[in-house]
Amino acid sequence: MDDLYRDYILDHYKRPHNFGELDPHDLEGLEHNPLCGDELGVHIRVKDGRIEDLRFHGHGCAISQASASIASEELIGMELGEVGALDADWMIELLGISVSATRRKCALLNLKVVRGAVTGDHAWPA
C-alpha cells in the first residue's frame, strides 16, 4: 500500500466532501500556497456561534484537496472559538499520513484559510 496516496486520501481527492460555494455565507477566506500557486477558498455559515455549514472551493494537489475534505467533516458543527486553537498537529493527525516537509503546506492550506476567515489570523498553522 502507498504510504502517502492511501485509498481514502485518493477517494477524498477524487470526490471531495463539502466542496462548492455556499450562498449566502457569513464568513469567507481565500489563501494561496506560494510554492505551487494552488488556491483554496472557503465559505462559512454561522449559527449560534458555531460553524453551521462550510464549503471549500479552489484547486490543488491530492494532499491539499483531501486535507480540506477531511477537515470539513470536523469543522462543521465546531464552535468558532475552537477554530483559533486548531494547530498543524491537529490537521496532520486527522489526515493520518506522514507528510514530508515539502508537502506540509499542502496539508495545512485548508486550516490556514479557515482560521483566516474565522479569526483573521493569516499565518501558516504551526
Binding site: K14, C36, G37, E39, C61, A62, I63, R103
Partner: protein
C-alpha cells in the same frame, strides 16, 4: 583532460537533430551522478531550474580559493594580481562565449539582479544621465538635469510578454507603478508563440519605451525570434532587454548579432556556480546610465560630498564581486565551448523530440507549448488528467526522477494556459534517452497509484 581536448574524443552519436535519441556521453564529467538516492541513480530532469556542475568547474572554484584567493582591483602583490587575472580573465571568456565585449559584460548576482539593474539604473534614469559622465576624466559629479526627460514617465509604456517569469515581470510592475507608466503584454497564441505583428502594432502606438522578453520560455520552451524583435524595437526608438537564462546554456547565442540593448543570463543554469549572473549592455546606453548600487569597486574617486564613477564595466559592480564564482563560470563556458554549442543544441533538441514523443504514451498527458522540438528549448511542461502537478512530481521522485512542479515563477502565464500548475521536465548536456524512459515509466506507475 581539458574540456576542449575532451570534446574531440566524444562519441559522435548525433548527426541530425531529428535522428531521435541522443547522448553526448559526458555524464561521467558530473560527479553528482555517482550518487545514489534510495539505492537508485540520480535521474535529473530539472536543468531549467539549475544545472549540475562538471568536475572541472568544482575544481576551478576550489583551486581559486585554495591557491589564488585575494581581493580584486586594489592589491599590488603577486597574489592579488592572480585574483585580478582570474576575475577579469573570466569576464573575457564569458563575453567571448556569447560574442560580447568584456567592457560591456557586467557580473551580477543572478539574472534577477541583472534585470533589476536595468529597471533601476535605466528605468529610474533620465535621458543624458551618467552621473559624472563616462569616466574619471570628468571633473566632479554632473548631476542629471531634472528637466531632462525621464526614461520612463507618466504616459509611457513598458511592454513585456505573457511568457515571462516573475523576474521579468515584477521589476517592471514596480517601475510602472512608481512612474505612472503602463505595463502591457504581448500575448501568446495557442501554440505558445508571440506575434511580430502584435509587436509592430504595440510599437506603433508610440508610447513604448522598453520591451523586455525571454529568449526561451522557462515554461513553454518557446524560442522567441529575438533578433527580429530587437530590430523592430530599435527602429521604434525603444530599448530592448532579453532574458537569456534559458537560452545561453542550451544553444549557440551571439549577443552581438541579437543586438539587444541589454541581454541578461545566469551562471548556475550554465554549468557554473550560483551567485553569478551576467548583463551585457550597449556601450552608449551603459555610459548614459547612473550606477545601480554604489560602494567599492564602482568608484573612481571619493570626495567628502561626492564621488566619481569607475569606467565600464566596473561602474555597475559595487562591492567585492563574486570572484571565485567568476573563475568557475569561466571554466563552465570553456567546457560548453569544448562540447560545441551546436552539438549541445542538437543533442537537447533530439532529446526533447524523444521526450515529447514518449510522453504521448502516457494517457491523459498534455504537453503545453510548441509541439515541434525545433521551435522549443530543451524542456516540456505538461499536465496529466486526474493528477495534480505536485503529485506528478512526487510520483516521479519515487522512480528516482527529479522534475519540477508548480507555477515555475510564471503565475500570469499559468492563468493564460488555464492551469494552476504544470510539471516540467528539462534536459541538459548530461541527459540521455534512458532518463526520458525512466520518467515515462514513473508517470505510468504513478497513474496506477492514482487508480487511473
Amino acid at each position: 583532460m581539458p574540456p576542449a581536448a575532451r570534446a574531440s574524443t566524444l562519441p559522435a552519436t548525433i548527426t541530425d537533430a531529428s535522428a531521435g535519441p541522443s547522448s553526448l556521453g559526458v555524464r561521467d564529467d558530473f560527479p553528482i551522478f555517482a550518487r545514489k538516492f534510495a539505492g537508485r541513480p540520480l535521474i535529473y530532469l530539472d536543468s531549467g531550474a539549475t544545472s549540475q556542475k562538471p568536475t572541472v568547474v568544482i575544481d576551478a572554484l576550489a583551486e581559486h580559493l585554495r591557491a589564488h584567493n585575494a581581493n580584486v582591483h586594489r592589491g599590488v602583490y603577486a597574489l592579488a594580481q592572480e585574483a585580478d587575472a582570474a576575475y577579469d580573465g573570466a569576464r573575457r571568456r564569458v563575453a567571448a562565449f556569447v560574442g560580447a565585449q568584456p567592457q560591456t559584460t557586467i557580473f551580477t548576482k543572478n539574472v534577477t539582479e541583472a534585470i533589476n539593474l536595468v529597471a533601476y539604473a535605466w528605468g529610474r534614469g533620465r535621458a543624458g544621465d551618467g552621473g559624472n559622465g563616462r569616466t574619471e576624466k570628468h571633473a566632479g559629479p554632473r548631476h542629471a538635469d531634472p528637466r531632462a526627460r525621464a526614461n520612463i514617465g507618466p504616459g509611457d509604456a513598458v511592454l513585456i510578454t505573457q511568457l515571462e517569469h516573475h523576474a521579468n515581470i515584477v521589476p517592471w510592475q514596480v517601475l510602472c507603478r512608481e512612474r505612472g507608466a503602463t505595463l502591457r503584454y504581448l500575448e501568446i497564441d495557442a501554440r505558445g508563440e508571440l506575434s511580430l505583428e502584435q509587436l509592430d502594432a504595440e510599437l506603433a502606438r508610440g508610447d513604448v519605451r522598453l520591451v523586455a522578453f525571454s529568449h526561451v520560455s522557462n515554461v513553454l520552451g518557446t524560442i522567441v525570434p529575438v533578433a527580429e524583435m530587437t530590430a523592430r524595437i530599435r527602429a521604434a526608438g525603444a530599448v530592448s532587454l532579453v532574458d537569456g537564462a534559458q537560452a545561453v546554456p542550451h544553444m549557440p547565442v551571439d549577443v552581438g548579432a541579437i543586438d539587444a540593448d541589454f541581454y541578461a543570463w545566469t551562471g548556475h543554469k550554465a554549468l557554473g556556480p550560483t551567485g553569478i549572473g551576467v548583463l551585457h549592455g550597449r556601450t552608449e546606453i551603459l555610459e548614459q546610465m547612473e550606477p545601480f548600487m554604489t560602494g567599492g569597486d564602482m568608484i573612481s574617486s571619493v570626495d567628502f560630498q561626492s564621488a566619481t564613477w569607475n569606467e565600464l564595466p566596473y561602474k555597475f559592480e559595487a562591492g567585492t564581486p563574486p570572484i571565485a564564482q567568476a573563475a568557475g563560470l569561466g571554466v563552465a563556458v570553456d567546457y560548453l565551448s569544448g562540447l560545441g554549442m551546436d552539438r549541445v543544441r542538437a543533442h537537447e533538441q533530439a532529446l526533447t523530440a524523444y521526450m515529447i514523443e514518449r510522453l504521448a504514451e502516457v494517457p491523459g498527458l498534455r504537453v503545453v507549448g510548441p509541439p515541434e522540438a525545433e521551435r522549443r528549448g530543451g524542456l516540456a511542461s505538461f499536465t496529466i488528467e486526474g493528477i495534480h502537478a505536485h503529485d506528478i512530481a512526487e510520483l516521479a521522485d519515487r522512480g528516482g526522477v527529479c522534475i519540477r512542479a508548480g507555477h515555475h515563477c510564471a503565475q500570469p502565464l499559468m492563468r493564460c494556459l488555464g492551469v494552476g500548475a504544470t510539471a516540467r521536465a528539462s534536459v541538459g548536456v548530461y541527459n540521455e534517452p534512458s532518463d526520458i524512459d525512466a520518467l515515462v515509466d514513473a508517470l505510468l506507475a504513478g497513474r496506477e497509484v492514482f487508480g487511473l
